[in-house]
Amino acid sequence: MKSKITDIKSALQPVKDGDTLMVGGFGLIGAPLSLIDELTKIDVKELTVVSNNVGEAGKGLGILLDQGKLKKAVGSYFTSNREVAKWYNAGKLELQLLPQGTLGEAIRAGGAGIGGFFTKTSVGTDLAEGKETKDIDGEEYVFEKALKSDVSLVRAHKADKLGNLVYYKTARNFNPMMATAGKYVVAEVDEIVEVGELNPEEIATQHIYVDKIVLAEQILTKEGVVQK
């Protein structure tokens, strides 16, 4: 068995200029904080980030934004980081705003070999402008294209040495779909256990999706983000 366990720095070596990155998390909850922190330290630019939010002002992915490393952000709720509007208005950041359910489904489709899908969400609103629509059984639907990534950075609770993952509480959010939609997938976890220790019925992400496993060095606590 070829080991997938590595250190955070090595895990991010394949990231290059112009890549599309999927990054898990609902705000900072379930975000791979140690991998994001390492991204702020490496020399990489023109990134497209697919994530529900661009972190918070000066936190998480918000740091990458401040560093000018982002070309485009795809997500559902950028309001949580007021800096996003400033970069957008200055013409220094492209935005693709999607309803949250459409974002999740587009990632799931991307990982499952589906080119896109029709949804009723956003029909008749500004977010459906310019998109193809279709009448299905008398109701109008709008076409949404699937999303894929060059690199997906996900946060799970435990991994076994094969790369099977289990999640923790609402820190699951976008992570399982992102793990399926990336060409190269790194999982940041609290604990790595022997193969066979995870209950097969509880494994939410199968090892075939995971390329590298790293141990979390920064974790979210009641008091905020702390170094482990």
């Binding site: 609902f26 509007a85 359910g101 459409t102 949804t119 606590t221 009641k222």
Partner: protein, 216 residues
Amino acid sequence: MSVKDMIAERAAEALDEYSVINLGIGIPTLVANYLDKEKYYLHTENGLLGVTSVAEEDIDPNIVNAGKQPVGEAVGASYFHSADSFGMIRGAHVDVAILGVLQVDESGRVANWAIPGKDIIGVGGAMDLLVGAKKVIITTNHTAKDGSPKFLKECTFPITSTRPVDMIITDLAVFERKGDGFELIELMGETTLEEVAEKTEADYTVSEALKRSVGQ
């Protein structure tokens, strides 16, 4: 009791026992304070069915609601990812969504995600909830901060969905959708029919029962 709590308490009365409910941010979140938690299933779109309150000492930073506030895990709760969560919503498995609004119009269309002239950079789950929940209840102050009506003939802000909402509960009145329009069915506190009329731009009817109760 604050105005917000009064609205939240009235919204709680509108809910059937053992239904699945999604609460939006703001006044809707307060509705949970007026529900017997064992008799309702609270869904939050970030991936938990079975939301309950949590004591300060038991807070887990990884258990939050859609407003990123700490919540607890009810007996019988389950966790799922965002795609499944919105599958529940769009697939009409959530009975009621309670949402706040910037504007709502007399055809029941809602605007609650963008303000013209301001940056349109956040939508979250609002569009999915409006499309998918079996019933949508709006909780809101009757007028905006500047005193202008929020219940209008037609929304002037970008709409969130073409789907009409079912009920509107404000600090002044309760309206229910009837046919293509809305019917005023209740006055809150000491509010009069005249005050509601003065602070509402939308056309609506007044229920016969309410007319009788105020002696008209």
